[in-house]
Symmetry: C2
């Protein structure tokens, strides 16, 4: 088993985590190493292995508890392992699969787990599997169903890359398919048919004229969106098509429930057949909770809205405030050139350390 | 080799032709049988074998020559061989692959080849291969390149199914692809992108508002058409698409050249990138030629415009008037239930026989 020293420098620890490949579904080696590191180097924690997730927590009787959660898996290797570094000092960059998404966050959490023996809040650490694949394989979902007490707390911090800025809440996302029908005919006798592709002109017009909302919540600005993500239709080069489909992705601010967002889409596309393909509610920023306010303060007051959807929403659905805070530029995630400024890893470690430290 | 009696009743001969399978590219058996029948039972004709095409002609020194052309191949077998008959008398129906497209026409031509030893016009018979596949495999194209004298004449009759009504001229057809571009972005940050699918709203609006021409030529009414036949675009469920394509099929009356039709489409879709995928000119009806006028008269004066594109246009491109005249309902072509009223086969045989007979 590859060995990890969880008390080592968070940047070195990030590199060590990157160098243990852990593509979704094949996280066992990394989960073994994390479990062993916690059992041997963090004896003050209760440690549980759940499939390829590793859970650990303090039980100090503090009045509040925070959950630090990070997934261990990555997207497939793309000629970007093992890790290497370029630059030095403040300009040092760590390259490699998972350096952004999200072994930098994992490394900080693992380092805090081993070094913070007397945190200000009780802390639960959740290192989980299968975040990068279908939602129903997500390890956090399995833990929620089978060990819900391990996710309870007063605030959750998900270590997904956020450029080392606290991102609060997240927008909801919904995908719908709009289908138009028609009557098939030979194009030489087109008047005997009814063209389902032509029938997309009106829904596309509504899309182009749609003005998405910009919403302020807790001082954060969320920008909604309504975008076609796929269009398809056609039978043959000489046939009037009798079916076409337009797939649309709606991103909605967390002041709107998934139900209300769906009702809104049905209004926008009134008169058309709409099928909801998937639907995930957003999460309100929840910055008014005391633990969250302390964290924002430790981060120097900087906070931004989260526009994409992350597992933060799973905690929000449990009624917990949750924020996203991790090193790395999310636009580099899933790219071959994935890389992180090591200064961001150190910054996140310092903020969380000063927030949770004595 | 299966044997054919070209002097037998045209309906029996149609059934015999249907029962010799001749899917495109595998017409050799049928071409062998046709060649043998002509060499042995029509000694008054010059016969040439060209690949799997069979050519035959009189050389009587008549002042005019007509070309009767039919393809020997069919689309793939679809559980519709061998032939069988239902009904009787005027209601008799012959079922089977090729009964419509176009062994009824072939049978009439073969029967005339063997029985009309003293036709009023010199006659060239062209039984050719590979009409049902890519245009560059078409046997008529090969003959045009290699034996152009075999296609020359004052009128061509193509025996494609036309409900036993003379169809004159044919419309042109053109396929274009319109591409829209954009900028890819995550849908959570859609304002950083530019949606290529949304950009289809305007060309689709133009399509829905387009009013195709109706054109009168030689007393025939041609109805043009402009139809989307395919639409496609999309990267992933959470990505603003940066490319989309709309394929459009234009059917245009034979008073417009392919060049002018293309210029018209470029005007309709002004401002968009357009690629011509294929383009085939139509054919003017040419009913004013003496041979054509005689044929129309023999058919009792009934004539209709041809809206689809057929090999008639190949003859028109050679500067010859050409009509389509054959038994069978073209909408049954290429269907498993392909079938022809035998009365239509007899009607076509009678009309052509009285036109060409002494």
């Amino acid at each position: 088993m590859p060995s990890l020293d969880p008390r080592s420098d968070p940047v070195d620890l990030t590199a060590a985590l990157v160098d243990i490949a852990s593509v979704s579904g094949a996280e066992a080696d990394l989960a073994d190493a994390v479990e062993h590191a916690l059992r041997t180097r963090a004896p003050h924690l209760e440690v549980v292995r759940d499939g390829d997730a590793v859970l650990a927590r303090t039980a100090l009787g503090r009045p509040s508890r925070v959950v630090l959660a990070g997934h261990l898996d990555t997207v497939p290797v793309n000629d970007n392992l093992p890790s290497h570094r370029t630059g030095s000092g403040e300009d040092e960059v760590l390259h490699g699969l998972g350096s952004v998404d999200m072994k930098g966050g994992d490394a900080v959490f693992l380092h805090l787990a081993a070094t913070l023996t007397e945190p200000r809040h009780d802390v639960t650490f959740v290192f989980y599997d299968c975040e990068e694949v279908e939602a129903d394989r997500n390890g956090l979902g399995r833990i929620e169903r089978q060990r819900p007490d391990w996710l309870r707390g007063d605030l959750a911090v998900v270590g997904e890359p956020s450029n080392a800025v606290i991102e609060a809440g997240c927008q909801g996302t919904m995908r719908v398919e709009l289908r138009t029908g028609g009557v098939r005919a030979h194009t030489a006798r087109a008047w005997m048919g009814d063209n389902a592709v032509h029938a997309l002109a009106e829904p596309l017009r509504r899309l182009t004229e749609y003005r998405p909302r910009t919403v302020e919540i807790d001082g954060l600005t969320y920008r909604e969106g309504l975008q076609a993500v796929r269009v398809g239709g056609g039978v043959a080069g000489n046939v009037v098509p009798d079916e076409a489909v337009l797939a649309v992705n709606h991103r909605f601010a967390p002041d709107v429930s998934a139900e209300r967002a769906e009702a809104h889409l049905r209004e926008v596309f009134d008169g058309y057949e709409l099928t909801v393909v998937d639907r995930s509610a957003g999460a309100l920023p929840g910055l008014s909770s005391p633990a969250a306010a302390e964290l924002v303060s430790a981060a120097g007051g900087r906070v931004a809205p989260k526009l994409g959807w992350t597992d933060v929403a799973r905690f929000a659905a449990l009624g917990m405030p949750a924020v996203n805070f991790g090193p790395g530029d999310p636009t580099l995630a899933h790219t071959r050139g994935e890389r992180v400024a090591t200064a961001e890893i150190r910054h996140v470690a310092e903020v969380l350390g000063s927030w949770l430290g004595a």
